[in-house]
Amino acid sequence: MSRKSLFTFGVLIVIISSFFSCQQVDEREGIVWKNIEKGLQSAFISAKNGDTIRLDSGHFWFTRSLMMDGKSDIVIIGEGMDQTILSFKGQQEGAEGIKISNCKNIQLIAFTVEDAKGDNIKVTDTDGILFSKVKVYWTNGAKENNGAYGFYPVLCKRVVIEDCVAARASDAGVYVGQSDSVVIRRNTVYENVAGIESENSNFVEIYDNHTYNNTGGILVFDLPGLTQYGHHTRVFNNKVISNNHSNFAPKGNIVGMVPPGTGIMLLATRKIEIFDNEITDNRTCPTAIISYDLVTEMSQDKKENDSSGQPINHQYKLDSLYDPYPNHVFIHGNTFSNKHWFPTLESDFGKLFLTKFFMDTPDIVIDGFSDTKLKDGFAFCMDQSNIAFANLNIPENLKNIRTDPSPYLCKEGKVQETTFKFPGQ
């Protein structure tokens, strides 16, 4: 073939492939969409405390956020997550699919919310919120312009997310922020940047979940400058499998720094117990415990005009209530396996691990930044045998990486279980 026809051939390939990607846009033609928007929004507004709002099976099309404010003891129940579908693909207004604010004891049960322009379901300033058998996702694949969060309770108390599905959020599928008393259990979470993320929250129980093919499986973060700081979180009995998805978070967001191939990551948080999890085939960081100093360090490595750097709250050192170091982190009884010989190379971590730990990626890494005055006796300890460990010693520029786990072995350090009355109980 001549160069010209090669070129033509190339153009043809591009056109044909764009044709197929165009077809993907509407993968489910033939759906009968129904519009109950005004009636349902009116129901959300005029509902009396104690009402149950029922949703039929079928596909429902919305052009605005559905909102509820200032109600108590409301149940919103569909016919099942595969039967009752609320689509916000045609959304022209509002930053979320469903938004619930200033409420008490709300139960969302058995339906799907898909394709919101922002977050699929946001709940704010609410005491008592239960999500059960609810699915939230974006139908058109894992894309940067998907909404940030699937489930997004923030500034809430008594949060339960159970038997749900969350996929393809450009930040976190299941996110809980600045909240108290939280149970996240039996959920299936995949193809998000962060699968499950608990941020600046207290008394959180994350168990029996299956997180796979996210960029990072389960994250427990504490960030500076917010209304409260996190502590007391237990992460156990989860399947954290093959979280190797490329990081598609829009730049400017903290999860943008999570390396593809992260199983569990803790950032600057305290009173954490991680046990009995199955942590399998996460290529880069099966488990990482890091401090906010590292986040700062990673940001400063970037040139000033490089927009890929993460924004840093430089004022965190002025925030006397914020502790940038993880504290009292107890890890035990987890099973680690990794069939991959190499980390993913899409992050600085991955490249580093390839050179420093050739074909033997560590199961648990810590960054080596430490608190000079420990409040809870120990920063990190573990009861794990036959694992590969690394203290990266980043403060000494990665010289002197230590792989001997013995300074960190312990038998005790349990974190108290959290119990509370569920919404609807």
Partner: protein, 367 residues
């Protein structure tokens, strides 16, 4: 040889066809969604305790469309006003006989029970003749009862004779000719009752936004004698707790180009953004405070990092980068029409060209 010629002919033709068909194919797919209307009734509108028509208030002369207030219904306006897709607005306060508002320096004035605030949203057909051919869209009412505010909105019917209570809001397509003679149109969005609160929330409760000292402190334009609006309210006995406008704070008119850019930009952000972006507002979790009284540059966005902005960050690191509007999230979100990025979140389907020009100039002048 002949085979080869056929081949060369075939590919360009195919490409040509593909290029022609493709955009249409995609468009066709996007339009393929057909939505059938279906009823959903949970509780009827009769359950809502509110007057069902604007005429039920009896506060305006008939025909209502001429917006002629009865006695004791007081027209007022503001130094700087919120941008709502170029809609025109007329504002009125009704106070019960013998009752007065109580002055407050920062917050909205304290209103007695039984007070009403009306705001008419309309588009003249031709903006060059602003008093003719009004197209009324909605009239919003704030009601003061039991020390609490309730917000309602009434949507005008096609005959323009009355407006009817709306719970869930609506979208109306509106067309007009702008000041320069150009045709404009927008799908104007009428808020639902919760959306009302999402702007009018102050520390978890409903609150008026406009009737504050700094916004009311201006010449009164509804009488021939050009007194100060606050002085006028005082002289009518409608405002107590202060004796003269002289000591009141004042915010400039952002549209007044003879004033310093910094003052104009801060006035613009105050009336357009600070109802949410203030320490007591619903956007408090962003830690961005756009009240004109905020003195700390980081708090009003200069080199401030976003919190949970998601796609709203637009890949940018800071709310405001001095000298660089194109690297500032503030400008990016004011310029966007995409739900989830656009700010304000509600009531804006068009970019406000004049507002953007002001904010651009302001950021460029920053050091």
């Amino acid at each position: 040889m002949s085979h080869n010629r056929q081949y060369n002919f075939f590919i360009p033709t195919f490409i040509f066809l593909a290029i022609c068909i493709l955009p249409n194919a995609c468009k066709h797919k996007e339009q393929a969604v057909q939505v059938t209307e279906e009823n959903y009734v949970h509780r009827s509108i009769e359950d809502v305790k509110a007057l069902k028509k604007l005429s039920d208030y009896g506060m305006f002369e008939l025909p209502l469309s001429e917006i002629k207030p009865k006695d004791r219904v007081f027209p007022y306006d503001l130094n700087s006003s919120l941008f709502t897709d170029y809609a025109f607005k007329k504002r009125f306060i009704y106070l019960p006989e013998g009752k007065a508002m109580t002055y407050h320096a920062e917050q909205a004035f304290d209103f007695p029970d039984g007070s009403l605030i009306f705001k008419f949203f309309y588009y003249p057909k031709d903006f060059r003749q602003p008093e003719k051919n009004l197209q009324h869209i909605e009239t919003r009412v704030l009601i003061r009862e039991n020390n609490d505010w309730t917000a309602l909105t009434y949507i005008w019917d096609e005959t323009q004779s009355d407006a009817h209570l709306s719970i869930a809001g609506d979208t109306r397509s509106v067309a007009w000719i702008d000041e320069s003679g150009k045709n404009q149109k927008v799908n104007y969005s009428i808020p639902n009752l919760i959306q009302c609160k999402s702007c009018h929330e102050y520390a978890g409760k409903m609150m008026p936004i406009g009737p504050t000292a700094r916004h009311l402190n201006k010449p009164y334009t509804f009488t021939t004698t050009h007194v100060n609006q606050i002085d006028h309210l005082i002289s009518l006995g409608k405002l107590q707790g202060i004796t003269s406008a002289a000591s009141c704070p004042q915010i400039p008119d952002y549209a007044n180009a003879s004033l310093p850019t910094d003052d104009r930009a801060r006035a613009y952000l105050d009336i357009n953004c600070a109802h949410c972006h203030r320490p007591e507002g619903p956007a408090k979790n962003s830690a961005l405070n756009l009240l004109a009284s905020e003195k700390n540059p980081i708090a009003y966005g200069v080199m401030k990092t976003p919190i949970a902005a998601g796609i709203g960050s637009g890949g940018l690191k800071y709310d405001i980068v001095p000298g660089k509007p194109d690297q500032s999230i503030l400008y990016y979100r004011m310029n966007s029409l995409y739900p989830g990025i656009a700010m304000p979140e509600l009531g804006r389907k068009m970019a406000h060209a004049e507002g953007l020009a002001l904010i651009t100039e302001w950021i460029k002048l920053m050091e």
